[in-house]
Subunit: 192 residues, 2 copies
DNA sequence: CACACCTATTCAATTTGTTGAGTATAGGGG
DNA sequence: CCCCTATACTCAACAAATTGAATAGGTGTG
């Protein structure tokens, strides 16, 4: 229901095209909301019909033209109203945790590999977030930044993303160690 | 798509009724997958049709009868196959992060309250997880547990849940502090 | 003894989300 | 010059999730 609001929030940081938003949602904003390009285009369409965003075609010479969306007054008002409503508790969908839940009835090798993949992914996302953080801070310390900037919101959500990926790295490491140690002491057994 | 597998994984820890699973998914298993009761009942139905689980009616004297589901051999095999496939990257849906992203164009008071709510919720979930952990460890140390138990999977996912709630507490605290400090130095302004 | 609340589940309608393909232009490498 | 990749979208079909209500017996409270 509130991909719409996630879009409005993303656009509150400045106008963007559907394609740009798609990349942000696929890569970056996945910190707090995930969606496929098709969803974004569809919902942008609807937001436009509802007068929450307005589109403007930007002619480009060396690439296809694009439609750039920005918030309207109504959109900004809707977003404000949304921020005043209590938020639903966060929802997670994590296949790896499901797999791990059932690890005791399988070969743990696959889980160890999956944990390594997860850790690697987390490292890359963290690196990306760190770069973004440097850009946002622009040489300032955190305290200065908090005092000066009008972008505290994005910074705080970025920090949530960073902390989450740091957690993933630590946790994946203990998963790997635990399952590996177990695998050594009881090679291919399954049982208490 | 893989609520089915989440159900199979939950049932791999022992049989349960739809209602019991609904509570687990609402409260506990929300660590890694979230779903409403209706979804569970529907998917249990389908899993039964597909021969992945079998149902058995348990007559109860002082409450309505219930149907208790357990894994079949086919279900266990499907679960094993699932654990060997690569997992999709985790997906998050976090309304509060969306709200916070847009905090710079609103009164931060609402966000501070929401952060406090989040922190309180996290504390309660953490307390629940800690109790569950005590029960799983049953007086043993972690090292012993890892060596002895056939429940390493659930323990590791529980640890993920614990770490996640600890993160929420820490993060919500910095959000509250940051926004409060800002609110003091610039009472009701909105700008750089 | 009425009323709210808990167990335990089902039905129907609607909204969201996913998958896969298809269109079109441009730039770079071999 | 062909193919691959990137930009920038659109369409259609399907699967999954959400919302709201309904049913129905039992328990505890005032």
């Amino acid at each position: 229901m509130s991909l719409r609001h996630a879009l409005l929030a993303a656009l509150s940081q400045g106008e963007a095209s559907g394609y740009e938003l798609a990349k942000r949602f696929d890569v970056g904003v996945a910190e707090f909301w995930s969606a496929t390009p098709q969803q974004l285009y569809r919902d942008l369409e609807r937001l436009e019909q509802d007068g929450m965003v307005s589109a403007r075609v930007v002619e480009q010479s060396r690439r296809p033209n694009k439609r750039v969306f920005s918030l309207t007054a109504a959109g900004r008002e809707e977003l404000r109203a949304f921020t005043r409503r209590p938020a639903k508790p966060p929802a997670m969908r994590d296949e790896f945790l499901v797999q791990l839940q059932a690890v005791d009835l399988t070969d743990p090798g696959a889980a160890v590999e999956a944990a390594a993949t997860r850790r690697e992914r987390a490292r890359q996302k963290l690196a990306g977030y760190d770069q973004l953080r440097e850009r946002m801070l622009a040489g300032r310390g955190e305290t200065e930044f908090y005092a000066e900037s009008s972008q505290v919101g994005p910074y705080l959500t970025l920090m949530a993303g960073r902390m989450y990926e740091q957690l993933n790295i630590r946790w994946a490491t203990t998963v790997i160690e635990t399952l590996t140690r177990r695998g050594e002491s009881a090679p291919a057994a399954d049982g208490e």
